[in-house]
Symmetry: C2
Subunit: 483 residues, 2 copies
């Protein structure tokens, strides 16, 4: 008897489901040492699956020493003794909470295609390491240690490293944000900031509004909190205000999540007038805004547009999330929340209950970079470096993807909307030619966006950018030709 | 009309509740600029509260510029214009989720008495900064940067910094832990480790077993997850096995949380035979163990006792949590989970969804300390340093607290059980004399432990240890004399 329970709807890859279930059977003793497994051909027929998934599964099982494949004879359960030696074996995956299962299912690192060696990858939007100046890192670290000494190594405060908070206060005031009655909490980057905010002001089945498409990590966190999403379309790269008002007026929404600057994935910037309009609408319907300012600094040419938090003035209806991860070092897990003082008091206790505080060394290093002026110089270099890649990417997209719609006004990526072509089909073909990118559907909260994708250019050379675009353009033509 | 809604049962101090509610009334415009507040005497009569709480509240309101107290005239609402300028004012504290409210309520940093300048503090169990060697920190940091360069500053892996994981594998094997079918996940210390484990394998109203008393942060996290607690008494500093079996057999418990080495707060070590017995019991009732090994390294004289994770061998029923925070640098937020490989895969996705990964620089620095041998040398120095304080504390406790029961076999603290004296009463009196400690009730899951307290000696000089014990002893005598 050989029964596997494969869920075709699950985000977990088929081959992985096969692997996990066979391992469980081996470890629980249902499949004993030396017993023969069905061939991959038989398995694919029994389960009505692609033979490739079965082959992939058996390869992994062999690599993990659960089975041995003997040429011409078949696949046999091996090493069972080793795994059966357990007098006490808990089937942990079965024990996991729904929350944990969702975290696995929504973990695109585990489900999306992986960049292979030698590929031109437009997937990443992490900074280019070539920009990092180790001498500056050394100097700023040693300065921090020299100034503050041993106490940097003992417990810090949940709220954050005080000199950094004080520096950010000045930095934010310079950006026009009024801090009267507000406060700052340091977090382990945007991800933690958004997670603890949702944990603190929502409960399951609450509804929240976001742009569609939007940052995929935000979608993941929203789904992990079991919230309902009222999504609002983007129109020419900006939120559709009529739709927003409809959403605001029709539901009891807990908050509106927005990325006004260098929107992820679209790379677009919401105009100053639209920001004001959106702000007034949210105020009218008493629905707070969570503003994601994650790469607001990556301005190339367009003039500065004030954050919605600045538009709010003294009002306390905006929660602003900041981070320098994308512009300085992602490895330094430091972000911050600017919000009403009373709310920050609560978030501080939540933060403390989850990990006591953010790494003091990371915070100290960031502070030293800011204070020494190295950050400002670095930003100038960074903007110049990425602007060249950005402009070249725009140029290439016009040349090689002539019938597509191109979005992006800065930042580290551009966003492409194809006419009538499935970007998953395109991705498959492009990967065969050595190019990988982020399919657009992962940024949409409903089944939309199948004809879109995001191209991150930050880590690619101009040569690879051009080559990559050329290959994608060729793949599109091939797909059209075969229709 | 002046109505406040004071909850006497809440863990939030009375004065804080008064402050928050008056601020809300001022900010919402219920109390307008210039209006007179009741006097503290009147307020204490209306609300049936101690006058002290009211005075404390008014002092804080004045410090925060919400009211001005004019001698001989009374307290008046001030600065209202500033706060009322808000066209949009959200009463955030009211908006918060029950989870967030619990996090505030359970945050002892906000509710327990604060150490004031000049006090002898037995409250802290953080390491003494005098032990930190900045030259070693500099050298190890620079070595790490020189070896790994720029990639340390870019995104890392949710699972952790690979060289550190590989080092820990060897380290754990040396301690007799079998890693067959198991894996390691790096976390932001114990707190995050325990939090994501509970989030991943429990749901609200599930039941878990723990020792009573136990680590107060663990209790907080358990309560935040809305779990029921089946507590098992400690008997001569070890868990009562009969009670444990009763708890295991009578409920459907998700896990047993244990601190076998240098138990917090008792400082006791579970014997090897008891560990075996406890392990077999949990196995019999198929209830996994979460073993907190947070300061297992702080062994002074007693011979090494293997962790329960080592007793388990190949079995996968133990989740082991490790950390060097208490023995190296707490500021470095690095801990780890050793568990079944399948479970670690799930926890990795949960970790990624919460903060992407732990600071790479922290992990790198810890790894360099381990690899260079500095950690081992440091541990020798540390043990010697704390052993002296430990032995002296035991000596002092026998001398100055002769009628008390003393627990503690190492680590950074000892635990005192008084005969028929309330440690909160003792604490109040001791604080008047300039000594502070951690009252024992915060470590108990029920109303027990009122006659106990924990004395952390790690950061005190021998002189202050003696002085502190003498003062506590004197306070006990005074209390007895006044009975």
């Amino acid at each position: 008897m050989f029964l596997l329970d494969i869920d075709l709807e699950s985000k977990e890859p088929i081959y992985k489901q096969i692997v996990d279930q066979i391992i469980t059977m081996i470890e629980e003793g249902t499949l004993t040492s030396g017993s023969k497994l069905p061939s991959t051909r038989e398995l694919s027929l029994i389960l009505k699956l692609s033979r490739n998934s079965c082959i992939h599964a058996y390869e992994e099982l062999e690599a993990r020493e659960y089975i041995s494949i003997i040429k011409g004879k078949g696949a046999f359960v091996s090493n069972v003794q080793k795994h059966l030696n357990r007098g006490w074996n808990i089937a942990w995956k079965k024990q996991c909470s729904d929350y944990a299962k969702r975290a696995v299912e929504l973990d695109i690192i585990k489900s999306e295609p992986v960049t292979k060696k030698g590929m031109i990858s437009f997937k990443s939007i992490a900074p280019d390491e070539k920009l990092f100046d180790l001498e500056q890192v050394r100097r700023n670290f040693l300065n921090g240690i020299a100034l503050e000494g041993e106490k940097l190594l003992n417990y810090g405060y949940a709220k954050g490293y005080r000199p950094l908070i004080e520096y950010l206060e000045i930095y934010l005031k310079d950006k026009g944000i009024c801090l009267e009655g507000k406060d700052i909490l340091i977090t382990n980057g945007f991800t933690e900031a958004f997670d603890i905010i949702l944990a603190s002001i929502t409960k399951p089945l609450d509804s929240i509004i976001c742009e569609n498409p939007t940052h995929n990590t935000a979608i993941k966190i929203i789904k992990l909190h079991e919230l309902n999403i009222a999504s609002v379309s983007m129109e020419n790269g900006e939120i559709n205000v009529e739709e927003l008002e409809k959403a605001l007026s029709s539901g009891n929404n807990k908050l509106v999540y927005l990325i006004p600057s260098y929107h992820n994935p679209m790379g677009t910037v919401m105009s100053a007038s639209k920001r004001k309009e959106v702000y007034e609408l949210c105020k009218k319907y008493n629905t707070p805004i969570v503003e994601d300012g994650f790469n607001e600094e990556l301005l190339y040419s367009s003039s500065h547009v004030s954050s919605i938090a600045a538009v709010a003035g003294m009002d306390n209806g905006v929660i602003y999330l900041g981070s320098f991860s994308k512009v300085l070092f992602p490895g330094i897990r430091v972000g911050w929340i600017v919000a009403d003082k009373g709310l920050i008091e609560v978030l501080e206790s939540v933060k403390r209950s989850r990990n006591i505080h953010t790494s003091v060394l990371d915070q100290m290093l960031l502070y030293q970079f800011l204070k020494s002026g190295d950050f400002e110089l670095y930003m100038k270099k960074t903007r110049k470096f990425y602007r060249e890649k950005y402009e070249f990417s725009i140029e290439c997209s016009k040349r090689y993807l002539p019938h597509s719609r191109i979005y992006g006004e800065g930042g580290l990526y551009i966003f492409i909307e194809l006419v009538d072509i499935d970007s998953r089909v395109l991705l498959k073909r492009a990967m065969e030619k050595g190019v990988i990118f982020m399919p657009g559907d992962i940024f949409f909260v409903n089944e939309k966006g199948r004809n879109t994708f995001r191209l991150g250019f930050s880590r690619l050379s101009l040569k690879d950018i051009e080559k990559g675009f050329r290959i994608i353009g060729k793949c599109i033509e091939d797909i059209k030709a075969n229709k």
